[in-house]
Symmetry: C2
Subunit: 190 residues, 2 copies
DNA sequence: CCAATTACAGACACATTGTTCAATTGTGTT
DNA sequence: AACACAATTGAACAATGTGTCTGTAATTGG
């Protein structure tokens, strides 16, 4: 394995190379999914020599990993800023759900490649973990005998799958409707 | 692509070859996950010539799909036989759920590698698709305004995620309890 | 301007995939 | 038991992709 400078590049060329690679990754994942993408393809799309790739990342996963941190940070930021905007007297639990759904609505294409059928495992996994954390934060403390963890996972799985169904619909229902559907279906969890 | 005889083999040799391959797949997935397994490895483990593999399956995915198809068929069979036994006024849907959970219980290690953290994308995807099919078959026809597809996906996501939580627990609740939990949580879908 | 860093194309060894083929072995059938 | 046929085998093959290494050219920061 070769030594990789994983830190923030000080050189403009390195900077350009990396952003080009990340853009290429985003595009290609959106178009063709994760598995079918080769390093060849990434480099061609990014207009980068293939050997240059290995100067920055040891493999495909590392590239994804790098980009994903940023993405997740942004998702959380956006979701959070939406959350604060919702009025304080709407004290219903799982307020973030509408925010998340609305966000998925605006960035439909991105979400399709994120959680849709063709995305990669790492991405889906991360996204699910994020939703699990969000739900774990907001779910009222369990009163019944059903394990809270179980409920959280159950709810998160349902939400993610519902979302991934939704973003692939051609003429989807509105974000408000979807939120209503989800809350209606999930009322047993309250 | 070569022509594959996908039908039930009439020849014992073909029968043996296929079961050997499926056993090898099960073992190897349990040991090493999905991604790192090559067709080489499968054939060595199954004691099969590499070219023989391609006489039966076009690729790794197809082998997995075949195994999952069997599982699906068996779960359906179980569910059906249960259904006849249950009294006519207990028209409970989703009979297969207990079968699936019990199966996951018996083959805990396999399921951990199948749907747990270490598995690959393809496996999870295929598994989820199977659950979606099973649910789609058994879910009562929708009466409300909520789209049936949405309900199916919602339910499938919840079940799969609950399962994947369960198989990673150290001291898990019993299969019966888990089934009860699932039905309790999902009652809004009925 | 200069030294250091980065990019590049090309070539290399290596692994994996999927196909083909002739020879051999096992099977179902009569 | 003998037959025709289907399955298996190992070897060889092209094609593709990966990761590494080289010498050279181009950009960069100082």
């Amino acid at each position: 394995m070769r030594k990789i400078n994983a830190a923030v590049p000080t050189d403009r060329r390195a900077e350009r190379t990396r952003t080009a690679l990340r853009e290429a990754l985003k595009d290609l994942v959106t178009e063709r999914g994760w598995d079918s993408i080769g390093i060849q393809d990434l480099c061609e799309r990014a207009n980068i020599g293939r050997s240059t790739f290995y100067l920055h990342y040891p493999n495909k996963d590392a590239l994804l990993q790098g980009g994903l941190d940023d993405l997740q940070a942004e998702l959380r930021r956006q979701a959070h800023s939406r959350l604060v905007k919702t009025s304080a007297h709407e004290k219903a639990a799982l307020q973030f759900v509408y925010g998340l759904i609305a966000h998925a609505h605006e960035q439909r294409k991105l979400f399709r490649s994120l959680i849709g059928r063709r995305s990669g495992y790492v991405v889906q996994q991360r996204f699910r973990e994020m939703v699990i954390r969000l739900i774990a934060d907001e779910l009222p403390v369990a009163t019944e005998k059903i394990s809270r963890d179980a409920t959280v996972r159950w709810l998160a799985g349902a939400l993610v799958e519902l979302l991934s169904w939704w973003v692939e619909q051609k003429t989807p229902v509105s974000p408000e409707e979807l939120t209503a559907i989800f809350k209606e279906l999930s009322q047993s969890a309250r």
